[in-house]
Symmetry: C2
Subunit: 262 residues, 2 copies
């Protein structure tokens, strides 16, 4: 980090339309992504590369607007309720999610296992909708939760629809770490999975995120043919024989994905 390059670019060079104050403010909100507890002004300033003064003004403003609030003990700040209003508008207005509504419920009804819709965001797949089944962990069920693209059934399904050079780029840039003993972190092993998806039309992932879990993923493309999301169906290996799971679930998931893609 001894480079002279600025760690934080307030704007791209010569972008006269970019509103600096807004860019900084969103960096403040995003600072909480790496936080595990309330952030003080000094911490916010450090994390975003702005001065404490600027952080003060931005936090003050975001607080008045309901996007941040002071932590219960008066030390540090946290995201606040107004954030959820944005969430709802995003989900409600997103055309893909609107179209996904009926097929996902139908799928959930027939398979009776957990059904998720996740959105492709480069290195991550972000959950936009979750229809639980039985046992659940809580935070894993939160909207906005994301999992790595390289080690999920949905991520493999999405990558299978990308040209090879983009897949290579993605895998090269991935910060791979094994989440379970069985998580694939070898790029070639992942490429092999992608090849399988291109044959089968779906991905099957064994214990990549959680031990005991099997997941089947199918990608959803936009009208131009680019993958933008994926459906997952996740279940317990204690209850399913893998080939049976694939045979039963794959056609239903594929049908749902097709209905959403349109």
């Amino acid at each position: 980090m001894s480079s002279a390059a600025p760690e934080f670019a307030d704007e791209l060079p010569d972008d006269p339309l970019f509103v600096q104050a807004l860019g900084r403010a969103m960096r403040v909100m995003e600072a909480f992504q790496k936080a595990e507890r309330p952030l003080s002004l000094a911490e916010i300033a450090a994390a975003t590369g702005i001065t404490r003064s600027a952080a003060q003004r931005i936090v003050h403003t975001l607080r008045k607007l309901g996007y941040l609030r002071m932590a219960p003990d008066g030390r540090g700040f946290l995201p606040d309720l107004a954030v959820l209003n944005l969430t709802y508008d995003y989900l409600r207005l997103n055309p893909l999610i609107r179209r996904a509504s009926a097929p996902l419920l139908e799928l959930r009804r027939t398979v009776r296992e957990r059904v998720d819709l996740s959105l492709f965001d480069g290195q991550r797949m972000v959950y936009a909708s979750r229809l639980q089944s039985k046992r659940e962990m809580f935070f894993a069920t939160l909207v906005g939760h994301s999992v790595p693209t390289y080690c999920t059934s949905g991520g493999w399904a999405v990558m299978a629809m990308l040209p090879d050079d983009e897949v290579d780029q993605l895998l090269a840039a991935a910060d791979m770490r094994a989440l379970t003993p069985r998580t694939l972190t070898d790029p070639d092993a992942i490429r092999a999975q992608i090849a399988l998806v291109r044959q089968n039309g779906h991905a099957l992932a064994f214990e990549q995120i959680l031990m005991g879990e099997i997941a089947l993923g199918v990608a959803i493309a936009d009208p131009a043919g680019r993958p933008v999301a994926a459906i997952h169906v996740a279940a317990s290996l204690a209850e399913w024989e893998p080939e049976e799971f694939r045979r039963r679930i794959a056609p239903l998931a594929a049908e749902a994905a097709l209905a959403i893609s349109r």
Copy 2:
């Protein structure tokens, strides 16, 4: 609307810390709350009371940051994925929701009906977590969805913990409309429900939001004793005799609420 008062206050008079550009930007994001489809620059400008130029710059910036995107057909703008990252941080870092995790799952497991956690936001109760049961409507299950405080079991439970004058204020300011034929819109009828809550410790709502639905709500207070949220358990009148529902569910919901309040 012939008054000379400005319809949009960029800042409170003499608040030297308030960042105008940021206030405007958040107004732009919030403009989508009343939208049913993508908004054009002109519409955003009109909805927020800023000029088209300012809207252009703000939209441009929010777009570069991933909070807005152009609609699929190139006409108008929509909230974009980055919003969900904020969502997750809010849910993940919120102390109340952290504490609620285990009790809610436990409650869901025992009652086997829909269990929600909603946050008190004045006139609205905003859903922060939803654990579905069987049949569901989709949009109703989205995080960030909100329902009026005055006609939900959770809202009644929350109001029961407020002093009477605050209840009166809330009801006076409420824009009451019946969502079903049975929705209570008479302030006195609602006050009667609140009185019941103060006796029973929970609220029971019949078909206030949706015909055929019964809901039981219990409030959650902060350490200072102010209500901040509510647990709902919702079920079908086709499957439950109301008194049986109350008898079975109320103690369990109350226990969960207590565990969360701490």
